[in-house]
Subunit: 348 residues, 2 copies
């Protein structure tokens, strides 16, 4: 009877494996980590015992010895559930079959000590790295904080926010430009715009795309064709009411996200306007709601899950790919999805 027998119920440790296989801890460690300097016999024997015992290395002990854990964090303050979940899916896809796990951390943008809160989170947990979701990813002080603490990070955003190694971005500006161009090609010349909230990079980029397209087409519009929104359904509804009160009123409205586009649709419906006959609507994001409302919404598909996957890959690559420096792209293209919410403008 060995002095140190395995307690029932508790997990087998490396010592158990070593004892039963008749080798040292280190050899077991070598087998588990696939060291090449091993006799095939030894390897087989140890593997046999590992399998039989169902031995799984203790991640805490590993993390301690390696001075590095295998947790990647997702810091977000995005109110859109679809988006957040897609990002989670993307990250999880990237770390599937690796030893990494995903730890989520929503933060409150409004909170005064938000940055301090995140610092504590990062320092306490000593995460391997974090993915920063928009809009909080646009916060430069946060990125600076990560650098200070020495925590790897990747920022997701609507424009180039950081060095390629530390960000993944989508080309919102171009995508919106194309969407507006599509409306113009359909014959629209009075196009309303519902913006995102002030200070958000995505809002700025999307608006720039809007202006690019108008300028390219030589269209001049009064400032009033741009209404402020804040990415919520209600704000879209309110903004649309303002736009539809204009005279002449717009024949098409681009909303900076789908949720606001749904609000625009609601506003149109309340006035008895038919979409797309009386008013064309284009959204942004291609959330499920876009295809579930009536009429299905023409919108810009934002490859958020792919971006998230890539972000996680950038974070973990150094470990999994053995310094291979596979360069994951840092720019992702959004594309226009044409559904039924756009038609040529009504003849006056």
């Amino acid at each position: 009877m060995a002095a140190k027998n395995r307690e029932n119920g508790s997990q087998p440790t490396i010592n158990d494996v070593a004892r039963i296989a008749g080798v040292s801890k280190k050899t077991v460690s070598r087998v588990v980590n696939g060291s090449p300097l091993l006799n095939d016999d030894t390897r087989k024997r140890v593997q046999e015992v590992v399998k039989q015992l169902g031995y799984v290395p203790n991640p805490q002990a590993r993390a301690l010895a390696l001075r590095r854990n295998f947790l990647i964090g997702l810091v977000h303050d995005n109110p859109n559930a679809q988006t957040v979940l897609k990002v989670q899916q993307g990250i999880l896809e990237a770390i599937r079959d690796t030893e990494f796990e995903l730890v989520v951390r929503p933060v409150d943008r409004g909170m005064a000590n938000m940055l301090e809160d995140i610092r504590q989170f990062l320092e306490r947990q000593r995460l391997f790295g974090v993915v920063l979701m928009p809009p909080i990813s646009e916060n430069d002080s946060l990125a600076e904080l990560c650098r200070q603490i020495g925590c790897r990070y990747v920022r997701m955003g609507s424009a180039e926010l950081d060095e390629p190694g530390n960000m993944v971005a989508s080309n919102d500006r171009e995508a919106v430009r194309d969407a507006i161009k599509y409306l113009i090609d359909q014959g629209h010349s009075r196009i309303g715009f519902v913006s995102g909230p002030h200070g958000f990079r995505s809002a700025i980029e999307r608006r720039l795309g809007f202006e690019d397209a108008l300028e390219a087409a030589g269209i001049k519009q009064p400032r009033s064709m741009i209404a402020d929104g804040n990415y919520t359904f209600e704000s879209g509804l309110l903004a649309a009411e303002r736009l539809l009160d204009l005279s002449p009123r717009p024949t098409a409205i681009f909303a900076s996200n789908d949720e606001m586009a749904t609000g625009v649709l609601q506003a149109a419906r309340r006035r008895g306007m038919d979409v797309p006959t009386d008013l064309s609507i284009v959204g942004f994001d291609d959330t499920p709601i876009a295809s579930h409302i009536w009429p299905p919404l023409t919108t810009v598909r934002w490859p958020i899950a792919t971006m998230a996957r890539s972000a996680a890959l950038k974070l973990t690559m150094s470990v999994t790919e053995g310094e291979q420096e596979v360069d994951e792209p840092s720019m992702f293209l959004s594309t226009l999805i044409r559904r039924s919410s756009v038609a040529p403008p009504p003849r006056d």
Copy 2:
């Protein structure tokens, strides 16, 4: 110059604090963990150094020494983003300001080796505990697996699935009964029902509620007034088409979730029917979409976030409350939210 000086960049360790404060590791540990057997002077001095150095205990080392980590897992296979995110919020609210973190793990219900996959997840990470979301929480083998492995768990569900200490449930059956009774009180006597997918406890409970209400009101309906759905928008649409093809057709339809209710709405619209004038609709869940569509949907609010919070509390209580055995309730009430999608039936 101490032999073991702190490297720049790396975090201070307990040894650094001990050395600088002129005490032993153990004393620092005592201070950090708030042991009462301490001289006030010593405590002050150590706290001073801790603060000055910004010392934070290494969670991996702690986890190793305590043979217990501070990660709680969320295992889910729920396709509804709103629901999943609400559950995450609930859990996070419960563990706010504790040392626990949330690790998410979506699983694929279709996958043959799903259980094995989850076992690996649980064994590898040695989580403190897991919250099991519906529908996978209804899987008894999974609960059995948790017990075998010795992993604490709490199942969320629509009925009593387990001992009170291991579950939180909502009273779906009663809630649906009340909702249907409300329709009956409005004058409806032909009420269609769109069910959830076969084998889901929530689907069964909701259907039982439906039948309870009809029976209580003495209403007999043909079997065809119940149409199968699977909680997706499309299935709701299809089910509604079948129901609306009936003659006489129902004057009200209850859908077992909001997404399907949205599909029902869509189907009605396609036929040129007005909601609620020609058809009343009631959903279940009270997801944001319910209040964003037109007309706003009368639906059953399911206190999912509260349930999740409670689930997490049950899990962590033993640690944070020092065996206090605060009994967190295990039953939560769903309530009917009355909006504009219900009206008395049209006169024939």
